[in-house]
């Protein structure tokens, strides 16, 4: 009986947190957010060296072949540092999808390139979950036509696109017939774009289909939930630290019950949420029968807990919490992004009900 993170997971987190503290502080995040959104090469290179990029890639293709739970705890660190890297798309979703759905040739072609750190994948999966504006695409004879919104990583080398038949396709960003529009949005750490495809050549993952897509979404939802957990924990830590420094009425504000209770409520929401996520992450590879239900609940629940913490921690900071100067809003917006991206909490709870035959 051992319900907790493994030695390996704790050491991955320790090393990664140290690297991010030193090499990707808020000033660096700010620089990324206010410039042209090109890949943060310095941070990315560090993540390649730490082995983060190859976490989910099998050893045969140059990765470390770790589990989805290992990938999830990395997501927690990146959330806590609001790190502007294409981790979810390039290191989690694409490797998992290609490993499960790709042919040997496709694995050879893409997995090693990702592990080496030279290839960035974006993901176009929003049409596969809670699609908006009737967007969607279909594939005929290796050519994709249609549209995809909220596609991650406008500067990616490839995009992984889910079509209306739940097939997954790899589209090269320099392929003909692609129209790209940037979708400016609140979270500047993870840029989005809209794509239109007109007979765009694509490479269909041979063994992809509804089951691969469903699993990949479960993994994505869980990793997004871990990202929120990390971001929310950081906001709570910052709020407590601020309250211990800030004085009003000749006392630090951390000595007022009104402030203490806000912080206690944040901790009281986050601790059980953490335990839920540990099980959801574990289930992805080790309890497949539980994975889907817990992934739905994990993302929906962290959307609620994250929103509560984001709001409350900002308020603890008073006027400073509202400023760009302090930059707390990077965490606020990161949590806001994770709440909506790939399905909001109401939609996910309905999926949880469907998974238990409580809804059709």
């Amino acid at each position: 009986m051992d319900f907790g993170l493994s030695e390996l997971q704790l050491s991955i987190q320790e090393n990664l947190n140290r690297f991010l503290d030193e090499q990707a502080p808020l000033d660096r995040v700010r620089e990324f957010a206010t410039t042209d959104h090109a890949l943060a090469q310095d941070i990315w290179k560090g993540l390649v060296e730490l082995g983060v990029v190859g976490t989910l890639i099998p050893e045969d293709y140059g990765g470390s072949g770790l589990s989805a739970m290992d990938a999830a705890v990395i997501g927690e660190c990146l959330g806590s540092h609001v790190t502007p890297v294409p981790y979810l798309s390039t290191c989690v979703v694409a490797p998992r999808a290609i490993t499960m759905g790709g042919s040997d040739t496709q694995k050879q072609a893409y997995l090693a390139a990702i592990a080496e750190g030279n290839t960035v994948f974006g993901i176009a999966l929003s049409e596969a979950c809670a699609a908006r504006s009737n967007a969607g695409s279909t594939c005929n004879d290796g050519k994709l036509t249609g549209s995809a919104n909220f596609v991650s990583d406008p500067d990616a080398n490839f995009w992984l696109v889910a079509d209306r038949q739940s097939k997954l396709h790899v589209v090269a960003s320099d392929a003909p017939g692609i129209e790209k529009k940037i979708m400016p949005h609140v979270d500047r750490t993870r840029p989005l774009c809209a794509l239109t495809f007109t007979n765009t050549p694509c490479e269909t993952l041979e063994r992809s289909g509804a089951d691969v897509l469903a699993h990949v979404l479960d993994v994505a939802w869980t990793v997004l939930a871990f990202d929120t957990l990390g971001a929310a924990q950081s906001m709570l830590d910052q709020a407590v630290e601020y309250a211990k420094q800030r004085e009003q009425f000749n006392r630090v504000i951390a000595s007022f019950q009104a402030v203490k209770h806000m912080c206690a409520e944040m901790a009281a929401e986050l601790e059980p949420a953490r335990a839920l996520l540990w099980y959801a992450g574990f289930a992805l590879d080790d309890a497949p029968g539980d994975a889907h239900l817990h992934a739905c609940h994990a993302k929906a629940h962290l959307a609620e807990v994250g929103t509560f913490v984001a709001r409350t921690a900002t308020v603890v900071h008073g006027g400073m919490g509202f400023t760009d100067l302090l930059g707390l809003h990077y965490w606020f917006k990161r949590i806001g992004f994770n709440r909506q991206f790939l399905g909001g909490p109401e939609w996910l709870r309905e999926q949880a009900a469907i998974a238990q035959n409580l809804a059709a």
């Binding site: 009986m1 407590v240 006392r251 206690a264 949880a352």
Partner: protein
């Protein structure tokens, strides 16, 4: 991550299941305290190590080695079989562990075996009308007169006082000492002259509580646990046990399972409640929280087995467990609507009126055993390292 208990525990669980299967007809149903049925069931459970498992044989227990997982399996299997487990009550859950830790040999021999057997029922005399969250300001006085303490004052929220044979009671024995250092922990018979009990009916309309008044109650000097003035620390040695047991996540999970069934049975218009998207969303929202508390509990258990730090996870469990359960019971009432108002026997009642009853009862638990607000103080101070509210000096506070 390893969620299995291991093969030796699987065997233990199977033995327990066999035991429950072959003995369940002997289990008493709503047997009154001290009835033969209740006592003989208790005796059978002790002999087999399914209650009082780690209490030494010489004091009437089973004498087993401490084993968190066995304790856990016992709880799970009795709940699963819906068979009543060993006797509870404040004597067994609070006084016995206190005496084991801090009692004299004579006190252990006098009280533990008879308490475990169900021959002595205890009540707890802690809270007073003017000492609730600020328990250490209690004023019931104990003055030494020769070989006896003379006790005057009153207690409130005293569960089972009307059924109890004995009381374990906090009294102020050193009026001049700082408030936490002036308290003693006394044991005395509820038959002692000078004790008056008045029932206190709670909002569920059950006479669960009492007020207890002491007028010149004379108690032998040696019926004290710990030393004079150390009563606060004696009481605190076990208060944590009580908090841990409020808002049990496995019981909440069982209620969630029943709630889902209820929402399939009940209708509004021609629609099942479960088919109503608003109610379904509320249900799913709660389900995520119920799951979270269950995993939080597993994490706490695991941290005790593996010496990992989960202090914050443990600190939030009373606050969140009781609030969540109250909300869950409230959702069932909303799902039933007007039917949810039914209280008292009639053909219109669902589940014996348990939803209204537990909805109110858990509001009581949000307040009792350290209110939610006190829990938030504890979480912020001990869990997050935030400073205490500045205090008035104690002399000034007593004047108010």
């Amino acid at each position: 991550m390893d969620l299995s208990y291991g093969p030796q525990y699987d065997n233990y669980r199977q033995e327990l299941r066999d035991f429950l299967e072959s003995h369940r007809d002997k289990a008493p149903k709503n047997a009154p305290l001290k009835s033969d049925a209740a006592k003989s069931w208790q005796k059978l459970l002790i002999e087999n190590g399914y209650t009082a498992r780690t209490i030494p044989k010489e004091y009437g227990g089973f004498g087993g080695e401490p084993d968190l997982l066995k304790g856990r399996i016992i709880g799970e299997e009795f709940a699963r079989a819906q068979v009543p487990g060993g006797m509870g009550g404040q004597g067994i859950s609070m006084l016995v562990p206190t005496l084991l830790e801090l009692g004299t040999e004579a006190q252990k021999r006098q009280f533990i075996p008879s308490t475990l057997a169900g021959d002595i029922v205890w009540c707890q005399g802690y809270s007073e009308p003017n000492a609730g969250s600020d328990l250490a300001s209690l004023r019931t006085s104990a003055v030494l007169d020769g070989d006896e303490w003379v006790i005057n004052g009153s207690k409130i929220w005293t569960s089972t006082a009307h059924l109890a044979d004995w009381i374990f009671c906090l009294v102020r024995s050193e009026p001049d000492a700082p408030k936490h250092q002036g308290i003693s922990f006394l044991l005395f018979s509820m038959d002692t002259p000078g004790i008056e009990i008045r029932p206190l009916v709670d909002m569920t309309l059950a006479p669960n509580f009492n007020e207890v008044f002491f007028t010149d109650v004379r108690v032998p000097k040696d019926q004290i646990v710990g030393k004079r003035g150390e009563g606060w620390y004696v009481a605190n040695a076990i208060l944590g046990h009580e908090r841990d047991s409020l808002g049990d996540p496995n019981a909440t999970l069982a209620r969630m399972t029943r709630l889902i069934e209820l929402m399939k049975e009940e209708t509004i218009g021609n629609e099942r409640i479960i088919d109503n998207p608003v109610f379904r969303d509320r249900l799913m929202k709660l389900q995520a929280r119920v799951m979270s508390m269950r995993f939080n509990d597993l994490r706490v258990l695991s941290s005790r087995l593996n010496e990992a730090d989960a202090s914050l996870a443990r600190m939030i469990s009373k606050l969140q467990g009781t609030e969540l359960r109250h909300e869950l019971e409230g959702l069932a009432i909303d799902a039933m609507g007007e039917t949810g108002l039914m209280y008292g026997a009639s053909e219109f009642l669902r589940d014996g009126g348990s939803w209204q009853n537990q909805y109110m009862y858990f509001l009581g638990l949000i307040i009792g055993g350290g209110t939610s607000q006190i829990q938030k103080n504890i979480i912020s101070e001990r869990g997050l390292g935030m400073p205490k509210e500045p205090k008035f000096d104690s002399a000034k506070a007593t004047e108010n």
